[in-house]
């Protein structure tokens, strides 16, 4: 018997703009003891679904039923749900920093939960907590019981969160992106811990994630959601090697992995996710589906049930020929090209002045040497806090180095000041991580992209407008949107605006600081392809900073691995991945989780087709 079973869960959230159709008739069931994954891009409704199930979504209209241990969660009162949360359903959230109260010790936060659900003495609760902290891998649990959250690292905090979720041995744990905020190496440790806990306590885990590689490696069954709709459900093994829905296939094809070669274009899913305020009559994915037919737009697709248990919401069966990825191309040779950036023994020390006397200094960069040649993409990888973004700002001239020299187009950048410094800005441009924060929300796109022309007195009036529109076209934006505000664009389009602005004054180096880490996989592929095309057409030089090794492997010719302010390994991209030398590189590489290669499955048959409608429940209700 399944531990939790959802039937036709439909969620409507009324807002100022209208009703958000957050989930449309979603059904799934999770067997006791398994890991069930929910995958989807941001805004697909995966977190909202879990919040609705646990009663954490006041103000929404929820219909359908969710049977948990035989009782319907959606019919329970808030008091009943409160008793259930924590004792029967544990939760692990994405951000361990904000989920723990900074003013209480971690021990008191865990025992508080024990006391809320069971009558035990303080000493017993403490013993239980210490025992659980030990099990999740916190050393000296007894003495760390009285420590505050800030005394733990990010990974350790997530362990504390897991201990908190597990301490009452709930049969079900809901983990909402538990590793997204963590570094790759820590991410793997946390996944291993969750898996271990499942084995030793028999806990069922529902895991929400956007990381398909991770899901493929840990979950038994998974569900793929898109715009509040369940597009595919089934065993992960089959789903990722031979997906039954074109959306899943598209997601897999657009994620860079060891299969997709460096230098080739990824296959992105065109377009953007639809607005949840709108419900199309036909298939919700029709607008972006590569194999769309007239039928898809007019009729809501049925649920196709395959003999291996997979279910897909689609009119058609994908053929095996779709499961092929573009072939590998040889990377061009850059060794003889001129050097654009030369960084020599750059050191940077931050001095923290405390009020009285004592000065503390932190060495952020400890002697960096690197050269970037014209036309190549130089990758900089490392975990958070290793100094990679700081190095980028030093190269961009935004932070002066303490010692050492950065030469850009044979001009040492730190010797120049005033007007010359402003001139130097023409040579290096930055594209930022956050597509929302890096564009001024109160200025029009035309003015944002045209800013470099204005600042450097390149063009005015009509001429500036013409050049800006040319740039917009180059990065794949509609030039007619010249007068729009950034908030009227989606995340991927905003990143295109950022790229257009960086391209405006034809810099010799563009620094991309995690340009795609805030974007969804399908949008990420569009941006990576755009970068690749621009580089090919305009012979640009890139410095690419990322924590995501699969992305770096896909785009970079040369990679430098950074750890604690030092470059520990620098090599050609292929060689680095094939034959890592430094132990830190090996550790990073072993943490990559790729989904299994696409293989196709020609033996699979559809055994049943069931009509479906997004409005099933609501139609009855009206």
């Amino acid at each position: 018997m399944p531990l939790i079973e959802a039937h036709n869960v439909t969620i409507r959230i009324p807002t100022e703009d209208g009703i958000i159709y957050a989930a449309n008739s979603i059904s799934f069931s999770v067997e006791a003891g398994e890991v069930f994954g929910i995958a989807g891009e941001s805004g697909s409704g995966k977190s909202v679904l879990m919040q609705a199930i646990t009663g954490l979504l006041p103000g929404a209209e929820i219909s359908g039923e969710v049977l948990f241990e035989g009782r319907d969660l959606l019919k329970m009162s808030q008091q009943e749900l409160q008793a259930l949360r924590g004792s029967h359903i544990g939760m692990v959230f994405q951000d361990p920093l904000s989920s723990l109260h900074p003013y209480f010790t971690i021990g008191s936060q865990i025992t508080e939960m024990i006391h809320a659900h069971s009558k035990v003495s303080a000493a017993e609760a403490r013993a239980m907590t210490v025992d659980m902290l030990g099990k999740v891998g916190i050393e000296n649990a007894e003495s760390r019981f009285d420590d505050y959250p800030h005394q733990f690292s990010g990974g350790m905090r997530q362990r504390v969160m897991i201990a908190m979720a597990l301490v009452l041995h709930p049969p079900l744990i809901i983990a909402d992106e538990p590793t997204t905020a963590l570094d790759v190496t820590v991410q793997m440790q946390i996944m291993e811990l969750l898996d271990e806990m499942r084995k030793s306590f028999g806990t069922t885990i529902i895991m929400i994630t956007h990381d398909l590689g991770l899901l493929a490696n840990i979950a038994d069954h998974a569900m793929v959601m898109y715009a509040g709709t369940r597009l595919e459900i089934g065993a992960t093994r089959g789903m990722f090697s031979a997906p039954t829905h074109p959306y899943t296939l598209g997601l897999l094809k657009s994620s860079p992995s060891s299969e997709t070669a460096q230098g080739t274009n990824l296959v992105p899913i065109e377009g953007n996710p639809p607005s949840l305020l709108d419900r199309p009559q036909g298939c919700i994915f029709a607008e972006r589906c590569p194999d769309v037919q007239a039928l898809c737009r007019s009729t809501y697709p049925p649920v196709q049930i395959y003999d291996d248990g997979a279910e897909a919401l689609c009119h058609f069966v994908p053929g095996d020929k779709d499961m092929v990825l573009p072939a590998r191309a040889a990377s061009p040779d850059h060794a003889s090209r001129p050097i654009v950036v030369d960084v020599q023994d750059v050191r940077l020390t931050f001095t923290a002045k405390s009020g009285f006397g004592k000065k503390r200094s932190i060495e952020v960069l400890k002697g960096i040497d690197l050269q970037i040649r014209k036309g190549e993409t130089f990758g900089l990888v490392g975990e958070s806090g290793c100094g990679k973004s700081t190095l980028a700002r030093v190269i961009a001239g935004l932070i002066p180095a303490t010692s050492g020299e950065v030469t850009l187009d044979s001009v040492p950048i730190h010797s120049v000041t005033g007007e010359r410094w402003r001139q130097m800005r023409r040579h290096v441009q930055l594209v930022f991580q956050d597509p929302v924060g890096s564009l001024n929300p109160r200025r029009r796109v035309g003015a944002i992209i045209g800013d470099p022309f204005r600042i450097h007195n390149v063009a005015h009036g009509e001429e500036q407008k013409r050049q800006v529109q040319e740039l917009m076209e180059m990065v794949g934006l509609n030039p007619e949107h010249y007068n729009r505000f950034p908030s009227e664009f989606s995340g991927g389009q905003r990143q295109r605006i950022g790229i257009a602005r960086a391209l405006a004054i034809k810099p010799s180096l563009i620094i991309f600081d995690e340009p795609v880490s805030a974007l969804d996989v399908s949008i990420q592929a569009q941006i990576l392809n755009l970068m690749h095309e621009l580089q090919r057409d305009l012979n640009l030089t890139y410095l690419f900073i990322s924590h995501d090794l699969s992305v770096v492997r896909h785009v970079c010719d040369k990679i430098a691995v950074m750890d604690a302010g030092q470059i520990v390994e620098l090599n050609e991209s292929d060689r680095l991945f094939a034959d890592p030398q430094h132990p830190f590189t090996c550790k990073l590489l072993s943490a990559i989780k790729d989904p299994p290669p696409l293989a196709g499955n020609s033996d699979r048959r559809i055994i049943n087709t069931r009509p479906a409608s997004p409005n099933a429940v609501m139609m009855e209700a009206v």
């Binding site: 039937h7 036709n8 009324p14 100022e16 209208g18 008739s25 059904s27 103000g59 209209e61 929820i62 219909s63 359908g64 065109e270 377009g271 953007n272 639809p274 305020l277 709108d278 419900r279 199309p280 009559q281 036909g282 649920v303 961009a396 001239g397 935004l398 410094w421 800005r425 023409r426 441009q429 930055l430 930022f432 991580q433 956050d434 924060g437 564009l439 001024n440 109160r442 200025r443 800013d451 470099p452 600042i455 794949g476 509609n478 949107h481 729009r484 389009q493 004054i505 569009q526 069931r610 009509p611 479906a612 409608s613 409005n615 099933a616 429940v617 139609m619 009855e620 209700a621 009206v622």
Partner: protein
């Protein structure tokens, strides 16, 4: 990839149920929608418009009643015992202790109040914005010096200082505005300083810097437009406090020089010789005018903040319908909905 900002939906003639269009509204349109949904704000706006008309057409009021604001009508405005007459058909709001028409004086007083309120608010906003932006953007010692100056101004006792200034220079309209501005720009300065400091750390400012933009260009083109919401809201909120400041000064005889009508002065006149004991209208009407106009401006400021910066707004769930749908669902799904 180019045209997703609006989602025109395919026409669905056969199924009227799902024919809602998703429209993308501009921020101006959204703000207007929120304003129109706020009855308190609308009432305040209507009141302020009426008050402004009342003040602008004060000479018309004088012409219509036939009473000049400063003329004393000893025969008609006062009883044989020398007491002011109450509201009647000639003096709609009564007459004061010198036989002047309270209605006409209220209208002329509104001119003073609004002029002082708006002028003082604008001038202190201008000073506050400039100092706040410089302080927040440059930080360091600039911030320390300007911050301490703001602290200093805030710690000067307002009335003592006003008394001293007036006794030296003599009361006048210009001096009242000056005193009010001097004591009210700090609030705006603090708010703008904090906002600017947090905006300065945003990536788009760094993007501008990396493009080579200078500090003045960043301040005016990048930061100022992002401060429009606090500037509008706090300037509006400063109008009522300036009106009250002016009334206070006039009440103490330090503001507008008699016989010019001002609300604070009218209240002071009513208090003198305890004439309010026999003539309630001398206190009630200027008092109500002062109270309602400050209230209206405060509601306007509050409402504008909600409309322009709708953080943490909650939409009430459509209770009735969800109960109904839940009930119907529970009855119908066991038989197997179409999607079972």
């Amino acid at each position: 990839m180019t045209n997703q900002t609006t989602h025109p939906k395919a026409p669905s003639a056969d199924n009227g149920k799902i024919s809602e269009q998703v429209v993308q509204r501009s921020s101006f349109e959204l703000t207007m929608r929120r304003i129109l949904k706020d009855p308190a704000l609308l009432t305040a706006v209507v009141f302020i418009v009426l008050l402004t008309l009342f003040a602008v057409f004060a000479p018309l009021v004088a012409y219509w009643t036939g009473h000049d604001p400063n003329t004393q009508f000893r025969e008609t405005g006062m009883s044989p015992f020398g007491l002011p007459v109450g509201p009647n058909h000639e003096f709609l709001l009564g007459a004061d202790q010198l036989g002047r028409d309270v209605l006409v004086r209220l209208a002329y007083g509104a001119r003073i109040s609004l002029a002082v309120g708006v002028l003082a608010a604008l001038a202190s906003a201008l000073i506050g914005i400039t100092i706040g932006m410089i302080s927040g953007f440059f930080g360091g010692w600039v911030d320390v010096v300007l911050g301490r100056i703001m602290d200093l101004v805030m710690s000067v006792p307002f009335l003592l200082c006003a008394l001293a200034l007036v006794s030296v220079f003599g009361p006048s309209l210009g001096l009242s505005i000056g005193v009010i501005v001097f004591f009210s720009w700090t609030t705006m300065g603090r708010v703008i300083r904090a906002e600017t400091a947090s905006l300065t750390k945003r990536e788009f400012i760094e993007a501008s810097r990396s493009l080579g933009a200078g500090p003045i260009s960043i301040l005016i083109r990048d930061i100022l437009p992002n401060l429009s919401v606090p500037i509008i809201v706090y300037t509006t909120m400063m109008i009522p406090s300036s009106i009250v400041f002016e009334a206070t000064l006039s009440f103490l005889g330090l503001g507008i020089t008699p016989p010019t009508a001002s609300w604070g002065g009218m209240l002071a006149d009513a208090g003198a010789n305890s004439v309010y004991l026999v003539a309630w209208w001398l206190v009630i009407f200027p008092g109500i005018a002062l109270l309602t106009s400050t209230l209206a401006f405060n509601i306007l400021g509050d409402g504008l903040r909600d409309a322009l910066d709708p953080k943490g707004r909650r939409i009430k769930p459509r209770k009735k319908k969800s109960v109904l749908s839940g009930w119907l669902t529970s009855r119908k799904t066991p038989e197997g909905g179409p999607n079972q």
